[in-house]
Assembly symmetry: C2
Homo-oligomer: 312 residues x 2
Amino acid sequence: MPASSLGPGPEFDRIRAIARALGDTAPRLGNDVAYLELPGSLLALSTDTSLEGVHFRREWLSLAEIGWRAAAAALSDLAAAGANCQGLLAALTMPGQEPPESFAELMRGAGGAVSAAGGTVLGGDLTGGDAISLTITVIGTAPRMIGRAGAHPGDALWVTGTLGGARAALVAFQAGREPDPDARRRFASPEPRLELGRALAGRGARAMLDLSDGLAGDATHLAAASGVAVEIRLDALPVNPAAVAEAQRLGEPASHFAARGGEDYELLAAMPPEFDGAGLPVTRIGTIGAGQGVRLLDRDRAVLLAAYQHFA
Amino acid sequence: MPASSLGPGPEFDRIRAIARALGDTAPRLGNDVAYLELPGSLLALSTDTSLEGVHFRREWLSLAEIGWRAAAAALSDLAAAGANCQGLLAALTMPGQEPPESFAELMRGAGGAVSAAGGTVLGGDLTGGDAISLTITVIGTAPRMIGRAGAHPGDALWVTGTLGGARAALVAFQAGREPDPDARRRFASPEPRLELGRALAGRGARAMLDLSDGLAGDATHLAAASGVAVEIRLDALPVNPAAVAEAQRLGEPASHFAARGGEDYELLAAMPPEFDGAGLPVTRIGTIGAGQGVRLLDRDRAVLLAAYQHFA
């Protein structure tokens, strides 16, 4: 996409600066997924870094969970592209004094996630460093290009599964409590929605992205990239039951708690008006109109939520 | 390749442990390049991390050079596969307080390297962290699979370009001296040998790899993976002129200095006996025989050299 249609925020300021510097050498920056047309295949690719202290803490997760979660974050981008998964490459930085079994344990997790998605571990790279950092690059093939751009006025906004579970676990971890088991699973071993992404693509998805930064923030990206206005009914959100309990604890409405939560790795899709969601675990949560920006409504009252931002 | 045919050393102990843990989920670990067969294309892929303090220091290189060098290291794996370059993905970790221009400068370097190789920057990921870490994943297409395995007794061993230049720069940097300009260029902005790799593949290369760990170490990998014995004539090595001067300073024979130097990103190829190198900047430096291991000869005397090892 042209850098001018990127959303707001410091991460996008950096992407805009990079796009300006690279010009024709980087014609389509700013999407979660990159496409490459080859004879016979349309490749979908995504790369994602998980860094100790930023994306996870070792006292919260096992090495296998850290590996699974890092792979799932990248695989989720393939899901949002309506792509399948062929495999992944893993670039792993870990302290040199860790035994070989630690490397194996972490990669067992990443391998489990890619195997569940139908792919294999194709290769990788090992580096000795102070903190654990795992950069996963996934490769799949897609029937056509789907990105953040493409939503039309008149489309409806849909979301898969439930929201807020990962945040419920994070809030509990940060408070030193053991999270609810389902919330913990949503945080530690999220299941990327590849099959559902392909089903939505097959039913005409116009724009799709995965909820890594939270619904409120990610909807802003979709609105900016598509050049449309997005209206979301918070009272329609499918809130994860564990999120309801954590929201109560914080005195925050459950739907607000869920809309601000990141890393659920559910899909947000702009679907044509005739789509009815039949047979799929999806919920209609809003509409696409002419204009720009995102309006959040809670029983017809406008609501303002602070979104999660990298580098904030 | 089966993990049993990996070379010695702590990095390979880790790869072996990972391969055991993953089983069928990772059928071909241990190569610098990963292959993926798709309808119509054979993909060649490689991922490489460049980490501040391990692979470079900011006081030695500009941000653009750090970016170029990181991309070149990954592109060099495509060269050794006889592949072309379609593009790269860049996962960049950098302190959040760096201005957007620093991100742009680093990616300008990576973009220059991929553009020189015929590809584009397809996408990436940005993370805030304490040290600069850049993981580059490159994608190309190859006419057939070439790896470390495949060398036959009777083949000859060839190397491209000259060796020791990057090490000459590193030794000067470490001693607080400004390196010789050509040595500095070899270290800061190496030119991956993609065209030459394709030429060698076209003339029947049986096994090929790029010299990232140094000739002595990388030849060991080729011997182990191919199940052959390699004999290298150090007196035949094409030594970079700047390496001659630095070797003299250290009181080390120039060819030994060059054989121990890493990160030249030249190619090492086992070529069929009829190959004569005509018209290509390549030098015949040894032979492949039955047996195992690497024998280094200097005017018919056996020589033992310590090789560079990651995690050493």
